[in-house]
Structures are given as C-alpha cells and as structure tokens.
C-alpha cells in the first residue's frame, strides 16, 4: 500500500536524522521556558515553581514561550508544473509530499498539531492542524493525492488560507514558485502580519536549475500546454540568467518579509531539509523574527 511507503519514507528520514545527531526527538520546541513572574492572586497554583520557593521563600510562576503546542500547516503546491522530474519516478511533487510527510511525522512525534493544504489556483484539499491518534494516517492519505491541478496562483489560495487561520501558527510552503511573484509577496506579507511564522521551501528539479538538455526539441509547458521549439545550446545562457534572477527575487522577497527561505533541489537529501527546518525553529525559539540578512539562502549553482 502506497500510504505505508510514504509513512515509512518519512519515518526512515526522521529516525535516521535523530540517530545521526544523537539527540532525543522528544524534547519539544514549543514548551520552551521563558521567564519567571511573581505569583499574583488568581494565578493557577499548579504553575508555582516550588524549587524557587524553597530557595527564595517567594512564590514564582513559571512562564513558557508558548503555552499551546505548535500548529503547523503544510502548504503543498499541487499545480501541474510540480509533476516535472528529470527522474520520472521521483518528480517535484513526490519530493514535496515526502518532505511534507517527514515534517508531519516529526512534528506529530513531538506532540505538535500538523495539517495539510494542497492548492493550485484554488484550495483543493484542506486538513486542519490536529494532533490526534489516526490524524497522521489521514495526513499521509491527503499527501498521496497526485499533482493534477492547473496553474499555480498564490493570490486566491493564500488569501483563503489566511482567512481560515486566525490562531497564530506556522506555515511551511512547499512549491516550485514558478509563477509571477508579485501576488506571493503580498500574500506572504499578509500571513506574517497576522503573526504567523512562514517557511518557504522552493523545490526545483536539478534540470530546472542547470538546464542540461542535449538535443533541440519541442518543449511543452506542463501548466499552459504551450509549445516552443527550443535549442538548448542557444537558449541555455539566457535561461540560466532568468532563473537565477527569479531565484534571487524569491529569496529577496522572503528576506524582506522575515520569512525563512530554502532552495531544495530534488536531489538534496531529506535529512538536510529537515535540518534546515529545525534550525529555523531553533532560531525562532531563541529570539524574535527580524528582517535582515537571511543565512539560509543557498545559491542555486
């Protein structure tokens, strides 16, 4: 059964990751200690730190960074361009689904609520963030859906998603971002303005980055069906310039909005992507989000 294989893939990545860095997966980021505050009448006595009382003879309340668990919504681009893969068995959508399954498995293991939204030019599937027995299986079932959508349009879906989430949470966007970036900028800004954390993984096939095609051929656009005769020998230099400009624009856009941006070619190991994700979480836990230099941006070449 395919659902098992996806679950298995994510499990292998997560457990392999932990065995590699020798750290327990059961220390959640969401229950980070923040500060002490003096007890006031009306506070719950269960939160009094008795050790501090023993030392100082004063009642102190222990405050946490975030008293609820993390609510993470994985946003998967289901447009047709995600079906592209230089290896037909493992296209961008499969990579995105596996990466999402990995994040979902990891977060559910540490008790955080995870949900999935699949979109193209509209929201196609929506599974709210939960942490219940059996929810992970439903997530895997939703992630199994193939990329049969139409064109990518970030405007409508991200606006809809913003309307549907009034509680602060985290959004992880897994997309090739092969669409005009103007609407993406405003919509991601809207999510940030609502107080959500946003992480963007731009997933590209290595062939999309280096454009290593040998022969002239009739190229068909997977989304629009448009056809052009392309001779790679003459078109490559221009293509590389334009894609680099696009990647730089996506990176700059995220940087200016205080969003973590990662370029993930489909040949990049999943555990490294998971490491990127966790380093973001760790940094967020350490301090407030700031705009400025984004250390996560990696060069495409």
């Amino acid at each position: 059964m395919r659902i098992r294989s996806l679950e298995l893939r994510s499990r292998v990545v997560v457990e392999g990751f932990w065995s590699g860095i020798h750290r327990s997966p059961y220390h959640g980021f969401s229950s980070e200690f923040s500060e002490y505050r003096q007890y006031a009448r009306g506070d719950d006595v269960r939160h009094i730190d008795w050790r501090v009382y023993a030392r100082s003879d004063r009642y102190y309340i222990k405050k946490y960074e975030d008293e609820t668990n993390l609510r993470c919504q994985l946003l998967i681009d289901g447009s047709r361009s995600m079906k592209y893969g230089s290896n037909p068995e493992f296209n961008k959508h499969t990579y995105a689904a596996t990466l999402a399954a990995t994040f979902a498995y990891f977060l559910s293991q540490q008790g955080d609520a995870v949900g999935v939204t699949r979109f193209d030019d509209k929201v196609c599937d929506y599974l709210p963030a939960r942490n219940r027995p059996g929810h992970l299986r439903r997530l895997m079932l939703a992630l199994e859906a193939p990329a049969e959508g139409k064109t990518t349009d970030f405007g409508g879906p991200l606006e809809r998603i913003a309307q549907m989430h009034d509680r602060r949470g985290m959004f992880v966007l897994l997309s090739d971002l092969l669409a005009p970036l103007e609407t993406l900028s405003t919509r991601l800004g809207m999510l940030r303005a609502q107080g959500h954390e946003v992480v963007v993984f731009q997933i590209l096939d290595p062939r999309e980055i280096d454009f290593e095609f040998d022969k002239a051929a009739q190229f068909t656009d997977l989304e629009s069906g448009e056809q052009h005769f392309i001779d790679p020998a003459s078109a490559r230099i221009n293509y590389l310039k334009k894609i680099q400009r696009h990647l730089d624009a996506a990176s700059a856009l995220c940087q200016s909005a205080g969003i973590d941006y990662f370029l993930s070619p489909t040949d990049r190991p999943f555990n490294l992507a998971l490491y990127d994700f966790l380093s973001t979480r760790a940094r967020r836990a350490a301090g407030p989000a700031r705009t400025g230099t984004n250390p996560n941006v990696r060069s495409a070449t």
């Binding site: 599937d125 079932l141 656009d221």
Partner: protein, 664 residues
C-alpha cells in the same frame, strides 16, 4: 460556370499554407515536457534548402488541389440558366405586445397600446398582420388566418379591438419565448404562401433587463425575418422593489428592499399591519430589514406614483412541513445500537419539520430508508416507488442483504464480503454530485475524521449499468453508490451510521448528509416558502377547491395544475395558505438595449435582405444549383485526393528513414 457563394472562392488562398509549410524545416520529433516556459524564448528554426522542397512536390500539389476543391465545393458551382421575373410580395408582420407586470408602470401601457395601433394603422392593404402578447407565455390575439379571412376593410378594426381588450398581467416577461412563438407563427404561415415574402416581428415592450431571453439563445432565424424593437419608456426612473429573504426566525420575517440604480430617491417606508419601518436604501443597492412580528402582506412605499406594481409582498404563515418517513429496519427504534435510533433523531419534530413515521409502504413515505433484507412483495413495492421518481436509502448492514441489494438495483445478486481490517476512512468523494455538493467548501469537505469500523465490500462490476460510486473507502471499495432506477434513484451505503459500524452518526455531517440525500422530499431549511405568478402550485391530490386572493373560490380539476395569475395569498381546503409574489426579475427595470439581443443572434432592426428582384434571382440560382449538385462530385474527388495523399505521405516516411539508415 457560376457560383452560388462566390466569396468562398477566396478560401483558395489557403494553398499558401501548405506551400509555406513545405518550405519550412520539419519540426523536431523530440518532445520534452517542461515545468514552465516562462524563462525560455523560442529558438529560430532554419528553413530547408530550396532544392530539397522539390522532393515532396507531388504531395504539395495534391494538398493544394484538395484545398482548391474544398473552396470550390463551398462556393457551390452551377451552370446558370435563363432568367424569369417573379412577382414581388408584401410584408408579413407580427405585433408582439409585452403584457408583463412591469408594463403597469406609469403611462407605459397606454403608450404601448398607442404604438401597436399606430403600427397596425400603417400596414399596407396587401400586407398581413398578426397580434400576440407575451407575459410568461405567448398568447395569440389575431392570427394571420384571422386577418386573411376578415373583410379587408375591417381587418385593422378587428386587430385594434382585440388590443383594446387586453390589460397588463402580473407575470414575468419571457420575451425570448414570445419572439420564438412569433417566428414560428410566421414559419407556419409560409406553407401556403410565397416563402420569399419579407417578415417582421415588432416587439412593443419596456425591454427591461429582467426579461428572460433564454429561448432565443439557440434559435435559427430565417434570412427574410427582421425584429423591430419599439421601446416604451417610463417618465419616472424611481423604483424600488420588495422581496422575501431567508430568515432564521420564522416569526420575524426578513425582507429585502432593492432600489433601482437609476432611482433619485433613497428613503422608503415598509408597512406591515401596525408595524412601520423607515428604510434608507441608496440607488443600486439592497438592504435587509427584519420585522418584529409575523405579517401576511407587506407594503413598500416611497418610490413614487405609478411604481406600485412591485411594492407588495405576501408571506404565508410558515408551518412545519408534514413528511411521512419510513425506516425499514430490524429491532426496536429506541435501541441506540441500531441506525433507526439516529435516523429518528435526525428527522425529529422541529420548526421546519413535522414528521410522521409510518410502517406501511402503501402510505407512500417521502423519505424511505431500508436497513434489512426485504421480502419479494416489499421489494416490488419499493422498486415501483423508485421507478415513479422516488428516492430511497439502502444501508447494507450485513452481507446477507446482497439479495435485497441485487433485486432493488435490478441486476444480479452481488457478492458482498465483510471488511476485515481495523477501520477505514473515506476517499475519492465526488463533491460534484448533487448529494455531496453541500460539503464542497474546503471547510466542510474533510470526511477523514469519521472512522468506519466495519463495512461490506462489493465489486463495482457486480452493480448495474449507470451506477455511480460517489465515495470510496480507502481500501478502494465503494462506500456510497447512487443507482438510477426508472425516474428515481437508490442510494446505497455499504456501512451503517450506528456505533457498531461507524462514527458517522456522531459526526456533525450526519444530519446535513441525510437532509441532502432527501433534499427533494425533505424539509427546506432556511429558505423562503413562496411561489411566483405563473408557476404551478404544489397542490396535493384530494384538494378540490382554492380560495383566490380576491375571496372568490375556484374549483380545481383533477390532474390539471393550477397556476396563479396574480400575487396574493391563496388558501387551500384544509387551511394551508400559499404566498404568491411577483417574480423578482420583473423589478429589474434597467433598459436592456438591443446589444444583448444582437449578441444572441436576433436579427434586430435588420431590413429584409435585397430587393425583390435580386431576391428572386437568388432563389432561382439556389434552385439551379440544387438541381445540378456539382459540389457532391467535388466531395468525391476530394476524398480520392485525400486517400492518395495519405498513401503518398505514409510511403515517403519509411523511404526517408531507410535513406538515413543507409547514410549512417
């Protein structure tokens, strides 16, 4: 040699296309699907050398010849014959008068009558005139036959007298139907006269944007017919309309006041019995107002004299719908381990529903659910009910119900297996299906929270033709199946909703799902129970008398539907009251203009084509061409050319490949 449609000969220039294509290099055969072409610019292709284009010369010649023949075929060649003069005829005119409720405004009706009379007075002595009216349905006042049979000196008087006797109705305006009926009347009259006579439909109407034009969308109009629009215009553009809106509290009705975009006033007054509400509605906008107490007649005031036609709204006291339900299951109804327990609670007594549970199929239950095996007699009765347009829900609670499923579906007995896994979820849910359309929104479409502990598996191949699986379990087995039977349908659930089978009855989706399955027979939640003038009223059998708004009683004939012709409260025997209102589209008064009609293909304002002499010549040419039929021979030659072209084309490819192989 002449041509019936010489303009098509211009199509011969399309031979430039194959010549151009033969000059171009063949596009590469390699095709690559790529995620996006937004960063790519098309590369230029090199034309082949001039010498090599000669290689496919026979193919090119054949293709050019085929295109020339195609152009010749469309231009319909013929050998011209002698010329004989035909007699010119006179015009046939249908005067179509709009009698919809919006014609009650101000002086519109008087203007319309005056226009119609002027039109008839100007008809020449040898022309023919018919008069029709159009409200919701067309009505003939004077036919071409009546006109022809009357004494020529009295024809105009007869038509004008018929016009004097009509008055505006309360119905909507179905101008489309009216124009089609007028065109059909002209077509029927053509049979015994000269078909080349010009014809005209004169539409006298306020041409409001709320008029229905659907009927003309696919109509084909004869070339000699033209439609002349005579628009009558109201002196005042002020108008506001009142209509009913959905209300959460049946005792506090909500009304919608819509102010026309061209209105110059925005202050209105809503009166209902002793209640008076002041309403401010800017032009072009709508506002909703809730009344404090129930009312049967609500009047809107303030939009000026002569605009009262859409200012009254009638509301019938809302009564819970009496619906008969039957649940054919085993065990006691109050056993919470049985599906009937939840079914009865879903359809329990409420403000919108007054259920009565019956045990006998003879009582024709509107909502029927089956959760046990049926005996042959019951099966026949249920099938008859479904064939007559009924709907039933079959809950397959155990594999022994296979025989019942097969017999009800009208196919062979399917093989059912009990699923032995831990639990299942739903997938591949068809939200485009009317039953599940309610859950289409992403907020409601998550069914994965419902666990199905047990279900029965059926092979879709065992189901009769036409069956549609609208949801599947994640094991791939059908979960919910719709099977059409006669006029009705059977919905089959392969798992129950009671706790032993699933969590469905505990889900918030359970009651909406049941209401959606029986949406045609069940209660309407939240909607407004009202009818419009001209629509047949749903009167149950056995009711023989209806009291009209005027207080008069009208006898009802068995088997004949009753359509109200004025707004008001209609009272049935037994105390039920039905509110009938003016159709809301009748209050959309913005002038339509002729552009929408032209866009729909109506020959608006077009004069009859050509002079009589030239028209007759065209007719003679058509007859000559129809007798010679050269175009058929052109088709035969074209087909032969295409066969030869295909054969040559298929031969040339392997030869090239062989040459390439030899060279390499």
């Amino acid at each position: 040699m002449s041509f019936l449609f010489p303009l098509y000969l211009a199509g011969a220039i399309t031979i430039a296309l194959p010549i151009y294509l033969h000059l171009r290099r063949k596009p590469p055969k390699d095709a690559v699907e790529f995620s996006t072409l937004m960063f790519l610019e098309p590369s230029k292709q090199q034309p082949i050398k001039r010498r090599s284009q000669l290689e496919n010369l026979p193919l090119l010649l054949l293709r050019c010849l085929a295109l020339l023949l195609l152009a010749a075929m469309f231009s319909r060649p013929f050998l011209a014959g002698g010329d004989k003069e035909g007699a010119a005829g006179q015009k046939r005119t249908v005067v179509l008068i709009d009698t919809s409720a919006s014609m009650r405004r101000g002086e519109l009706w008087n203007d319309a009558i005056a226009s119609a009379k002027e039109m008839i007075g100007n008809v020449q002595s040898d022309g023919s005139v018919a008069v029709m009216t159009i409200g919701q349905t067309p009505r003939t006042l004077v036919s071409f036959g009546d006109w022809r049979d009357a004494d020529p000196s009295r024809r105009a008087d007869i038509a004008m007298k018929a016009i004097d006797e009509i008055s505006p109705e309360w119905s909507g305006s179905n101008l489309g139907n009216g124009m089609i009926a007028a065109a059909e009347m002209i077509a029927d009259a053509v049979g015994d006269e000269d078909s080349s006579l010009p014809a005209e439909i004169v539409v006298i109407s306020d041409l409001q944007s709320g008029a229905t034009l659907d009927a003309v969308a696919e109509a084909t109009w004869p070339g000699e017919l033209s439609v002349v629009l005579t628009q009558v215009e109201a002196s005042s553009t002020n108008n506001a309309a009142i209509s009913a809106a959905a209300s959460s509290d049946p005792d506090k009705p909500t009304v919608r006041v819509r102010n026309d975009p061209d209105s110059e006033t925005s202050s209105f007054e809503i009166r209902a019995g002793s209640q008076t509400i002041s309403a401010i509605v800017p032009p072009g906008e709508s506002r909703f107002f809730q009344l404090a107490a129930p009312a049967s007649e609500i009047i809107l005031g303030g939009d000026g004299e002569g605009q009262e036609f859409d200012n009254r709204l009638f509301l019938a006291p809302r009564k819970a719908a009496s619906i008969k339900l039957q649940f054919m299951g085993a065990g006691k109804p109050d056993d919470s381990n049985r599906p009937e327990y939840y079914f009865r609670r879903a359809f329990s007594l409420s403000k919108v529903l007054n259920p009565s549970f019956v045990d006998d199929l003879e009582e024709n239950p509107s909502i029927l659910t089956i959760a046990r095996s049926l005996n042959p007699e019951e099966t026949t009765k249920v099938r008859n009910l479904l064939k007559a347009g009924g709907r039933a829900l079959l809950v397959v609670r155990e594999t022994s119900m296979a025989k019942t499923l097969g017999e009800l579906a009208g196919g062979k007995t399917p093989r059912l297996n009990e699923y032995d896994g831990k639990y299942s979820l739903l997938q591949n849910i068809d939200f485009d299906h009317p039953t599940l359309g309610e859950f289409r929104d992403p907020r409601w479409r998550d069914f994965t929270q419902i666990h199905f502990w047990k279900h029965r598996e059926v092979d879709p191949a065992d189901l009769p033709d036409g069956s549609k699986v609208i949801a599947e379990f994640d094991s791939g087995a059908p979960a919910w199946i719709e099977i059409p039977i006669g006029e009705g349908s059977l919905l089959v659930m392969m798992s129950g909703w009671h706790p032993r089978d699933s969590q469905l009855s505990l889900s918030t989706k359970f009651v909406p799902l049941l209401f959606s399955i029986f949406s045609d027979a069940g209660p309407k939640v939240g909607g407004v129970r009202q009818f419009f003038v001209g629509d047949p009223l749903p009167i149950q059998e056995g009711i023989n008398q209806i009291t009209l708004p005027s207080g008069k009683k009208s006898e009802l004939e068995a088997g004949v539907s009753f359509s109200p012709d004025e707004p008001g409260i209609y009272r049935l025997e037994g105390g039920n009251a039905l509110a009938v209102n003016l159709r809301p589209s009748e209050s959309e008064l913005t002038p339509l203009g002729k552009e929408p009609l032209v866009a729909l293909g109506v020959p608006v304002g077009k004069a009859a084509e050509g002079t009589p002499a030239s028209r007759n010549r065209t007719l003679r040419n058509q007859e000559s061409e129809a007798g010679q039929n050269f175009w058929r021979w052109a088709v035969v030659v074209l087909l032969v050319l295409l066969v030869v072209e295909s054969w040559l084309g298929s031969r040339s490819t392997p030869v090239q490949l062989q040459t390439e192989a030899t060279v390499s």
